[in-house]
Amino acid sequence: MAAVRTSSEVALNRIAIVAVLIATLIFLAPIYWIASTAFKPKELAVSVPPTVLFEPEVTPFVRLFTKRVQMQKTVDPQVYEAAPWWEKRIYDGGERVLKVGKDVQLSQYPDRFMNSLIVAVISTVLAVGMGTFTAYGFSRFKIAGEADLLFFILSTRMLPPVVVAIPMFLMYRAVGLNDSHIGLIILYVAFNLSFSVWLMKGFMDEIPKEYEEAALVDGYTRMQAFFKIVLPEAATGIAATAVFCFITAWNEYAFALIMTNRRAQTAPPFIPSQIGSGLPDWTTIAAGTFLFLLPVAIFTFLLRNHLLRGVTFGAIRK
């Protein structure tokens, strides 16, 4: 750029920066709305006009994790006084926390959240593990029809989930894998594997072959060279790929909707199913959504330097 800038260029630059800030605010507004609704008292979530400023509270999160019943009459003052603060909050909302004996009954949300976690973590480990080996194979050895094989691998990701889901549903039903963690894990590995291979191949190609060759000269076997030289070099790539696979599995909806209904249901089909009929409790739904989005928001920040590669299957480098 020319060292001297005309005043009109400076003005234009300022306008652009202001425009960026406005655009950012518009883009973040829906996310702010989710986050803020999760901390609103129930009646403020559906107020007219919409409430922007309010005193935040955690009642929606308590509601998210406990089973409640609508109260028939006003609560006994003694019981109310004896209750812990979070139960008082629910009492104030005209509901009572459901208990069996002394134990508070949990809602289904913690289970669904755990299912999401189990399925996403295990399928990520498997997809990234297999993908790393395969990417190394493609990166270092001559393979007949390499381009075609890589295209085949990529093409498995291009299929619409609903198309694959129909035969998979029938096959799973035949072998009893419906509504099981294993069934969902297998599907997510199949779904993420192509991505993992493509992304890891990009990272592998960047590790100089000379590193392993030096190790081979030093008396390492090829496997030792792979584990002791190549894998540590590829560590950042592996981490980035893992987070991408995790986010995909974490967010997946169509397979989970079709293949699970109770035992292994994950959060993405569960949260919308809570809307039901009548007036939905948006604060509780927002609280569930907020918790569910939190890991993804954190990973996005950790990943920001790898994002471009990740979203394009490693086809484009930054």
Partner: protein
Amino acid sequence: MASVALTHLDPASRAAARGWSDLTIRNMFIIPTLVFLIVFNIFPLIYSLGYSFTNFAANRSEPWQFVGLQNYRELLTDDHIWSNFVITAKYVIVSVAGQMIVGFGLALLLNRSFPMKGLITTLLLLPMMMSAAVVGLFWQLLYSPSWGPINYVFGLGDFAWLSNPDSALYAVAITDIWMWSPFVMLLSLAGLSAVPQHLYEAAAIDRASWWYTFTRITLPLVSPILLIALIFRTMEAFKTFDIAYTMTTQPTAELIAIRLYKQAFQQWDTGKSCALAYIVLIMVLAITNLYVKYLNKVKER
């Protein structure tokens, strides 16, 4: 003795002599993945190809019959299916065009240095990292005719975005644009930052107008990457299921993937839904081929 003989070989062969051969390792690394993908992707497709020629219904135990091409014939002459394809095409055009314009526009604005640029870029990427089903669910609240913030901010009164047959599809497309413009922005930014600065300097010396610089330097050099974004998003928009399915039940917003889901898992018309899946599949593969073709072209540059 042995070590003396080995020094005459290249490092790979010497390593091979100590452990598994490269060929073994290569096969061990690659074959499991290929087998896995064939078993869980290709085999189910062959399985459903078989079913697509039958009147099989997964919720009934009656024996099924081979019906030949009848499913395909019925689907291709069914006006409802065609209207689902037309809806999908409309959706793809509106949402992809919106994403290209918003995304590329944002990238042009962002393509300069200013404080907190990294943070702002990352924040802008958040929508596309979310679960589409949950995003769709939550936009129902934003669109709500009585207490939704969107109608309040834009003064639209009680306009029912999602239950109005004329607007439901566009409401879903707007959400999709919100979610995926950041993707186009990310790719465009990469393309813009790759344009050699000296071209702009030369243009500045020649006192070229902003428009001239933009159309003669920026656009031609960024267009390959924009094309990738376009094909990528087209492919994804064509497959859209979750976001639309959680947002609205309007028949005017019934995309082909939703139609397919209903046919398979609500009407349990398994044989026919397998045939429809094949029709959709062929279309997706056509777009995919385009994508790979252009990807290779761009890579050669």
